[in-house]
């Protein structure tokens, strides 16, 4: 089907089929993406309506005039400008630190066999598998004992060695030919230098994916920041947005506006990082 795409047209019979295939591919994907983005379109529209209009029947499909009201509610009830800074700070620190830790560990598990490696990897997988609902309370107790409640290290630290991230990097590092590493090693390259200069460069797409996922994880994480953060001024975006919910008087307009705004930094990060997914085949892993 779309496979031809991944293969350079070395033997083009003529330029025209390529162009018509390009149009066909682009337009069929456009239909798919339109369906995927319909809920988003509605989210943005909803952000411009008041809580009452949002649930009109049929739901509003054109922009309304309440964006400014929603923004001011968001600022006054959820301290949105503070909160967005908190979220950015936490997420950026987390992404960098967790990215480094997961990449190092992923490389260790992918390219070395050492005593206890499978046992340790098993432990890692256990960490991935245990539902967070049951580890939440003991972990919270740890935060109490460490006197970390209400601090950002309580939000960031417990998830730094994210099993998912390590697993992702382990699987990605596997693509790296052992010859590449071995020959560098025989040239007398130090292990850490080898990691930085030989292993990481071809891993850029995987690192970009890892960064996207880590950023997404921390950006959207709700229950853990909810239980460990204590002051409205230090909340993250999801926690602050949840505070807009009441028993009978949720401000849906402000809530959806906040959701739409919260998607923007994440979208920018994605756009910046997806550039490392170089199209076509210009960036084979093993090309030096």
């Amino acid at each position: 089907m779309t496979l031809t795409a991944t293969r350079p047209d070395r033997t083009p019979s003529s330029p025209r089929p390529v162009r018509s295939r390009s149009i066909l591919l682009t337009s069929s994907l456009a239909i798919a993406v339109a369906a995927v983005l319909l809920p988003f379109y509605w989210l943005i529209i909803a952000a411009t309506h008041s809580s009452k209009e949002i649930f009109d029947s049929p739901p509003p499909l054109l922009p309304g005039g309440h964006l400014m009201d929603n923004l001011s509610t968001l600022e006054s009830s959820a301290r949105f400008s503070d909160v967005i800074v908190n979220s950015l700070l936490i997420t950026v620190i987390y992404t960098i630190a967790a990215g480094a830790i997961c990449t190092l560990a992923g490389y260790g598990f992918a390219k070395f066999r050492f005593r206890g490696s499978s046992a340790l990897f098993g432990l890692l997988m256990l960490g991935l598998v245990i539902p967070t609902q049951v580890t939440l309370i003991p972990l919270f107790k740890m935060m109490v004992d460490l006197e970390w409640l209400g601090t950002y290290q309580a939000v960031i630290t417990p998830n730094l060695a994210l099993p998912f991230g390590i697993f992702l990097m382990r699987q990605s590092m596997a693509a790296l030919p052992d010859e590449l590493i071995d020959s560098a090693r025989m040239d007398g390259c130090g292990e850490f230098r080898l990691f930085l200069k030989v292993v990481l460069p071809p891993m850029k797409p995987a690192l970009a994916a890892l960064a996207i996922f880590l950023f997404l994880f921390q950006w959207n994480d709700f229950i853990w920041p909810l239980v460990v953060l204590r002051d409205a001024g230090e909340f993250t975006i999801p926690v602050a947005l949840a505070s807009l919910q009441g028993l009978d008087q949720t401000d849906y307009g402000a809530l959806l506006t906040g959701t739409a705004l919260a998607a923007i930094p994440m979208a920018l990060v994605f756009l910046a990082l997806q550039r490392h997914f170089v199209s076509g085949l210009l960036a084979g892993a093993v090309k030096e």
């Binding site: 009452k52 499978s118 409205a232």
Partner: protein, 463 residues
Amino acid sequence: MDASPLNQPPPDDPPQGGLDRRRLLALGGSLLAAGAATSLLGACSVTGATKAGSLGDPDRAAITVWSWQGPAAAMKALVPAFEAQHPGIDVTVQDIGNPAIWDKITTAMAAGGQGLADVLHIGVDYLPAYTEKFPDGLADLGPLGADRYRDAFADGMWQTVTRKGKVNALPWEANSAGFYYRADLFEAAGVDGEALVTWDDAIDAGKKIKKKTGVHLLGIDKPASQPDAANFFQMLLQLQGTFYFDAEGRITLGSPEAVTAMTLIKEMNDAGLVSDLAGGWTALENSIKSGTAAVLPWPTWFGSIIEGLVPKESGKWKVRLPPAVKPGGTTAATVNSTHLAVAGSSMHQAAAWAFVEYVLTRPASQEAIYRTEGIAPALLQAYEAPVFHEPSKFFSGQHKGEIFLNALKARSPAVNYSADYARALKTVDDAQTQVLLKGADPARALHNAADQLARQTGRELAS
């Protein structure tokens, strides 16, 4: 070995992946070892005794309050006046949001009570579970001076907030069952809404209204997309003086009263009088805006919701207490309440109590809260304020406040929510869905629900 990487076969690489049997065994072994080691480490944690709090200095403290939205705003508004009266106490009200607040309180309670705010806003659906499962989680307000307010609140409330002589909280909001109806539709069908004595009368009226106007009698969230889908059923139980549990905590889901209530609902549904509110709150709002139901059997707080949603229908609405289930039966029921409690781990319990007392027992505080947030007080003395006795233009000039006040003053049997309320609610929701969507027999569905609940909770069935 030194083959150029470019000639590699497709990276088919499981050097990493290939888990052979030996590695799996090692994996399993490590899991066991990890489990054993940490079980030892954590041995003392399960029993997790609550670290006791202390009274602290009643005049000098910084206290934190957890609540949500409207009530949080109401308390924030009271803080300046409170701090002026208690210059040494610094109050911070945190708006956590609802339902988020329950996850936050539950986590801290289960972890031994540390990390809670000093003052907690807790609904009746959670309070009994917290006090039963975490007996030291909340401070005893009795020694702090709560006992003198024993008779200050609406009937039944004191039983709700006390357990085995311990005062776990003070009541704040108390809502009575209500019956809001479109007087214009009733009139068009030639029915007098005020004359309905029983729910059987209401069903007859509903049939006439449906025939004349095409409007349903009422709406129910049939697939139970929200846990409160059984609100109406629960009210019908309370109007018969029963609930999901009796005073001894035995399960009464299969009682004749419960079967009567579910049968009434089935009868309405079979007659085509029940619109589907699938989707919960949003569907309810939509249904009100598009006028698909003539009756909203909702409690006190719901009046202002209707006013807010359909301001143009002012004068078309009326409100009364719900009809009885049986002739001569009660029409008054306190269907839900919220409370302020002080955390057992709080180091400033005296100061926290001072704030609770200020908010909940001063009529002026409660009147101010009612004016801004429409929260109906459990504090009876608060009702002396004129605001509760003004005629309501929206509700056709009726004295809405007085109608509900009469319900609060009436004998209202205490309801035992028990620690297993949430579980009971879930099984009731499922039973109701079976009846409404699958045509199940009410008695059989309820008996199954009662059996299931008994198995899950280890509680006895009331005979």
